[in-house]
Symmetry: C2
Subunit: 570 residues, 2 copies
């Protein structure tokens, strides 16, 4: 039976008008894939209103040591045991714990009005949410820093412009996909000698069900903002299930978006938060609920694969992990290449899904201009480059950040024991003077032979890397691409100055279903990824099924229901 | 390792240029969804080259009583036991029987060159295939007639323009989705005070794997042409598994498309045919093969649901069945409405997925202008309208066609026995004079009460219909939409002259995830569906997951693999 009409969406339509140019510009950027962003990437004071930085820091501090107030449905208690990787101190924030059935009952009650809202109203809400999240970047950066462990500068970009860009990219992709289908059409045609038939057709875009978005611990916003927004844009309510150790930045964003929904006259329960604990995880109960039809997951490969198989009859979009390779064949300036690779290994202690892990070298050496540099020397110079980056503890912390999880320290120790005499650079703590309790570790580097590289055939989350020596450049390329195909790769890299070999490299990674960056030594870290330009995850290797943000990421989240009414007398 | 370069695709690129305007026009029709088709819908002689009809008939006759030659890989014997529903006589055509493993080995060997071909080359091949299929319409119409059981006129449209339209629509949708992603982009941006970074990016669209397309017995081309073409367009090789009783029209199309592939320098094994028998079905072996990553299925709901669950980790697109309703509330001219419904029940003996089945009436009667016509009279006039359509055996056969399957006769007998005294119109054979052996049946109509309608809550494939009396119009609408949501509906219908109730009807079907046609009495049968304008299957009820042809039908069949190469000195 038809339900009551949607709330007056005038406010949301106004937001659409306010942000329409930005939305259309983003849709164009999606198609042209050049450099564009409307968000501010730097925390530099001159780029923000006076007092923004201080206000953000104060807002973050005001969150600490108290319950985080969210008027969620189905609350049955509280959870929350986050501790700062920088200080070791608990944040003291508690969140509502919700029971799955009453939560989803409320979500389903909120859903019909959102399903019936116009595309413009839904997009207006999404665009306004992005703008408000942008205004909260300082606060969210501190929240990210003290949960994920990111250094402040990275957190400001990572939970700010970088993730806002991806969110806008996804929103615009959803808009473009929906705009492929007109809202109405008139079908008029003569059949034989009779009067023309005229049919007034209407195409309604309908959501498929509730979406559950699992966010990850170390980089909470980057995959989450796109998933949240693309689901809302296409009419699907969202339940966010944050990583139990990184709730705060996500909770802040959910709170803000719920306020936007409320202002527009919709139920805030279109976006809810289901926090859990390591001991009592709630994800499976959410996935099993019949109202849930979409799962967006960011996290480990094992659970990701389980989700891909067990809930395959729902829509599943995953971004997990891979053993990202660097094939180092030759360089115009080997020192620059090694500097870039060292930075890639150090940056946020390689806790980013695009961080390099396996450095492949030809046994005869890497050509540096006219010289062939043997693997031992390449390795030594890489170690030296890493050492320089982490020499000063303050500067090191700014690059390395803190380790999100204590488990990573254990993983480093385990790998070190397994690698025994093949360790070429040991890992060590490097806490900064202002955070002596910070959980830190500089990169562990292990040397392997291509024929004995099992240790490198999985993602080692955190500052662990391998130098793998192969017989020649083709063997290195073959090994790197085979591992990408078999074990997954989110980002791959290569360095070569040989114009004849470059296409061989590009083809080999393409055949392996792995994206590749070549000769990256410029102003940005090698694993810098640009929304509107770079696609992320191919879906063609075990590192995940979701691509941010291609048509396949958005197009099945809505369906078309049509009506046609014959016009009398036609 | 990179494989040899693709074949010289100059021929395919020429085809692309030849058909580019048609392709772009189709893409525009997809967005505007008004009336358009480039194909010829009528077999009228003046619309075709002289002799085309005779040549087509002769070509069909030449196929009979002999092996159908297809140089497929992995041939291990022959199959083929088709018999004409019109004559009862075996066609005498045998087809190669293939073994799954060697077949797929050959398909996989052919795949890389197709994956590497340009979009234009692949689209050129698809567009040329459509043109050649169009040229074969007469031959294919006879093949369809004598396997599916369609009358010639329906077969000419059904395996001709209607299916070619849907194939072109899908091809254009794939093109549009791919064109969202540029082939290359230059990313240039200054970070901080350094020189701008310049990255040359390339976005390769890569297929996901082999597609298996299962075609159905009664309407072989309509879902199959879109599935075959959209898979080929996006780079995925196709294995077609035809219904064992309707192989010939599909085999003809496969033969032609293989020839086009060959002419373009590609392996014909990019499109293969895996025929089987009722006793030794091959579909499951195909689905289980690891190379198969896409399943396009048209057929029964039970097997469709099994596929949707069991192979959900692959991409599954289904079109199955539903219990299509007609809610008859009021009409400007009840006789016209009843005539349209009677035609819908008679046309091809309701063996089309869009045929109406359950006619819902308010107990107080149907308003006809100023008069309230009681259900018993509505029923009697419907029966009379059916009787008029089938009174002349020759004309009846032209409308009803033959029954595709002998099982349908048994199903009619079973339903008749179950309905006992509720039969309001009995079914009877009505063979035409020129085909006295034709397997035919006129509609069986059964009266049910809304509270006791279990018999109507499934698809009754063939000429079986129900008149269901509900307490009032809202109860009728509620029952029709509830059954659509629970048991599936591919097409729903309503008749109402009440402008206040019309939006209630449209909203109710939209909420149920069922498309609806209202007041359809025009020149075309009510279940006429227009490619480029009508979407087919919503994916929101049990009648299937595939929609022809929305972005969700095409967008996940390819993935993006990217490379970025930093330009030296940037």
């Amino acid at each position: 039976m038809p339900e009551p009409r949607p709330p007056d969406a005038a406010r949301a339509e106004q937001w659409f008008e306010r942000w329409e140019d930005r939305l259309e510009r983003a849709a164009r950027a999606n198609r042209e894939r050049d450099a564009w962003t409307p968000f501010v990437e730097s925390p530099s004071r001159r780029l923000h209103p006076p007092g923004a930085a201080e206000a953000g820091k104060a807002a973050f501090r005001a969150r600490l040591g108290r319950p985080f107030s969210l008027d969620l449905p189905g609350v049955v208690g509280t959870v929350g045991a986050e501790a700062s990787p920088w200080t070791g101190a608990p944040l003291g924030v508690t969140y509502p714990r919700v029971a799955v059935d009453p939560l989803l009952e409320a979500v389903q009650a909120a859903a019909p009005a959102w399903a019936r809202a116009t595309r413009r109203a839904r997009l207006g809400v999404c665009m306004e949410v992005l703008a408000r999240w942008s205004d909260q970047t300082f606060e969210n950066a501190y929240a990210t820093m003290h949960t994920a462990g990111q250094a402040f500068m990275l957190a400001f970009t990572g939970s700010g412009a970088s993730s806002l860009d991806r969110g806008l990219e996804a929103t615009a992709a959803a808009w473009s996909a929906m705009q492929q289908i007109p809202e109405r059409a008139t079908f008029e045609r003569a059949f034989g000698k009779g009067a023309p038939v005229r049919l007034e057709k209407r195409y309604r875009l309908r959501p498929v069900g509730v979406a559950v978005v699992l966010t990850c611990g170390s980089y909470p916003a980057w995959n989450a903002w796109p998933a949240i927004l693309v689901n809302l844009a296409t009419g699907n309510p969202v339940v966010v299930k944050p990583h139990p150790d990184t709730i705060l930045p996500v909770a802040i964003a959910v709170e803000t978006a719920r306020e936007v929904l409320r202002e527009a006259g919709f139920s805030p329960d279109l976006l809810t938060l289901a926090c859990d604990t390591w001991d009592a995880p709630v994800a499976v109960d959410l996935f099993e609920h019949p109202a849930v039809q979409i799962i967006d997951f960011t996290g480990g490969q094992a659970f990701g694969r389980t989700i891909e198989r067990r809930w395959a009859h729902k829509q599943v979009y995953t971004e997990t992990a891979g053993c990202n390779a660097v094939v180092l064949e030759s360089a115009d300036d080997l020192e620059s290449a090694l500097g870039a690779i060292a930075l890639g290994l150090v940056l946020f202690s390689a806790q980013m899904c695009t961080a390099p892990q396996n450095l492949w070298l030809p046994r005869a050496g890497v050509r540096d201009g006219d010289r062939l540099v043997p693997p031992a020397e390449v390795e030594a110079r890489l170690v030296a480059a890493i050492d320089r980056l982490v020499a000063d503890p303050g500067a090191a912390a700014g690059l390395c950040g803190a380790l999100h999880s204590a488990r990573t320290l254990a993983d480093i120790a385990t790998l070190k024991a397994a690698a025994s005499d093949r360790v070429v650079r040991d890992s060590a703590p490097a806490p900064p003077p202002d955070h002596p309790e910070a959980r830190t570790a500089t990169p562990l580097v292990v040397r392997l032979d291509a024929d004995d590289r099992a240790l490198a055939q999985q993602e080692r989350f955190g500052p662990m890397a391998f130098v793998i020596v192969a017989d020649d450049r083709d063997a290195a390329l073959a090994g790197a691409t085979a591992d990408a195909q078999r074990f997954g790769a989110i980002a791959s890299y290569a360095y070569t100055t040989d114009p004849d070999w470059l296409p061989v490299v590009l083809d080999a990674f393409a055949e392996a279903g792995a994206s590749v960056g070549v000769n990256l030594v410029g102003q940005r870290p090698m694993n810098y990824t640009a929304a509107f330009s770079d696609f992320h995850v191919t879906g063609l290797n075990p590192a995940g099924t979701a691509s941010l943000t291609d048509p396949g990421f958005v197009a099945r989240r809505f369906r078309v229901v049509q009506s046609k009414v014959e016009v009398a007398g036609s």
